[in-house]
């Protein structure tokens, strides 16, 4: 792409302006919305830098999920912050400036941006991932190969982190009483008829799209993490428009709790299965001796499914915990 740099610089300008505005603005609802916009612009940069899978995730998680959680929190707490006194801002600014100067001084040792001969690109692992994975794993999306197979151990850890965080949030905010739908919610229902009809049309489409993302992750951008968040955001949209009660009817917390654990169990179970089959932990070649490519396909499919289930259930649980807190009070 010949026009890489002008586009890059324009997006950077948007990011810097947004970040400065976030630092300055004291209306926290506006700050949360701007942080969503920041994530969206950042996802554009990721696309520009060829990280399509990351852009996918950042858009769904950073711009969608995080913003919704911030808004839920603000609805539960104060939406304005007090002005920052100089005794706080001056030392902080000094520390940030010093750290920034040190970082920029250190950046002189970083390789040239986007060059083909950087240590990153010259590392033997690059060849392994970009050339040999086509025969070793047999799927076109290298990010999925690395995520689910080469670094499957690491991804298991990440899945457990999400599981743990969901459990911790449930311990802090969960166990809320089921409240009756009050008048304010009803007014949203009767007055926003267009919104209701369109949402009803869209939600099934979003859920099917999430399944497509889940199972198309081998061939294009997508996979369990992204699909899980998209699936959850479909149901969150449903809950936002039709009320929490309706969302709980579709996905009761009791079921979600089991699903969060089930996803991790599927992932770990695949590892145990490979051990039983005589391979190393999470070495999918052992799943189908003689046909490593088939084994890899099966292993990645199951592992991604586990990730998808855990992420979808955890995200929904987070949303229901935060949104349900208001009902309980």
């Amino acid at each position: 792409m010949t026009a890489f740099h002008p586009i890059n610089i324009a997006l950077f300008a948007i990011l810097v302006i947004t970040a400065l505005a976030i630092a300055r603005i004291r209306q926290l609802f506006a700050a949360a919305m701007l942080s969503g916009l920041f994530s969206l612009a950042c996802a554009c940069i990721f696309v520009l830098h060829d990280a399509v899978d990351v852009a996918f995730t950042e858009a769904a998680v950073g711009a969608g999920m995080t913003t919704v959680l911030f808004l839920c929190t603000l609805a539960l707490t104060d939406s304005r912050e007090k002005s920052t006194p100089p005794r706080r801002s001056v030392p902080a600014a000094l520390a940030a400036l010093l750290t920034g100067a040190a970082l920029i001084y250190a950046s002189a040792d970083l390789p040239k941006f986007a060059a083909a001969d950087t240590p990153v690109q010259q590392h033997p692992l690059t060849e392994r991932y970009l050339r040999d994975s086509a025969t070793e794993i047999g799927i076109p999306n290298v990010v999925t190969s690395v995520l689910a197979s080469y670094r499957g151990y690491d991804t298991l850890g990440e899945t457990v982190v999400i599981f743990t965080a969901a459990i911790a949030v449930l311990m802090l905010l969960g166990r809320t009483a089921h409240a009756k739908t009050s008048d304010a919610v009803m007014s949203l229902h009767t007055r926003h008829r267009v919104l209701r009809v369109v949402t009803k049309l869209l939600v099934p489409f979003i859920l099917v799209f999430a399944l497509y993302v889940q199972f198309h992750g081998d061939y294009g951008p997508g996979g369990g993490f992204q699909a899980g968040v998209i699936f959850a955001s479909g149901l969150i949209l449903y809950g936002l428009v039709f009320g929490l009660e309706a969302a709980r009817g579709v996905a009761p917390v009791r079921v979600l709790r089991r699903l969060v654990a089930a996803g991790v169990l599927i992932y770990g179970g695949v590892g145990v299965a490979t051990l039983v089959a005589g391979g190393a932990f999470l070495d999918y070649d052992a799943l189908d001796p003689g046909h490593p490519a088939t084994g890899q396909h099966l292993g990645i499919l199951l592992v991604e499914l586990g990730v998808g289930i855990t992420v979808a259930a955890a995200m929904l649980m987070l949303f229901l915990s935060f949104a349900g807190r208001r009902d309980a009070r």
């Binding site: 026009a3 506006a30 696309v47 304010a184 799209f209 294009g220």
Partner: protein
């Protein structure tokens, strides 16, 4: 033409960002952020063609979806009361 389109979209994004920063009401900001989101959808679509690899349009679809969900969430959580409680009117001013 694709390049011109991309640059025009970036300019439009900057204008929308300007409105999001200026406010003055919360609704102006929501409108501007929503409009910014639509422009990023178009940006992803056009830049895929510009880079000569337009196979990743799924991302643009996700952007459109997230944009809609986000707007509904902001509307619901700032305006219509927070899942059952009465709306808090003091949250409606949007000054800096």
């Amino acid at each position: 033409m694709l390049l011109a389109a991309t640059l025009a979209l970036l300019a439009a994004m900057l204008l929308a960002l300007g409105r999001a920063l200026l406010g003055p009401t919360l609704f102006d900001r929501i409108l501007a952020v929503n409009s910014f989101g639509t422009k990023t959808v178009l940006f992803i679509a056009v830049s895929g063609f510009l880079a000569g690899r337009p196979h990743f349009l799924d991302i643009a679809l996700v952007y459109a979806l997230i944009n809609f969900t986000g707007t509904v969430a902001v509307l619901k959580l700032t305006h219509h009361g927070e899942f059952g409680a009465a709306g808090a009117p003091e949250q409606q001013e949007g000054d800096l």
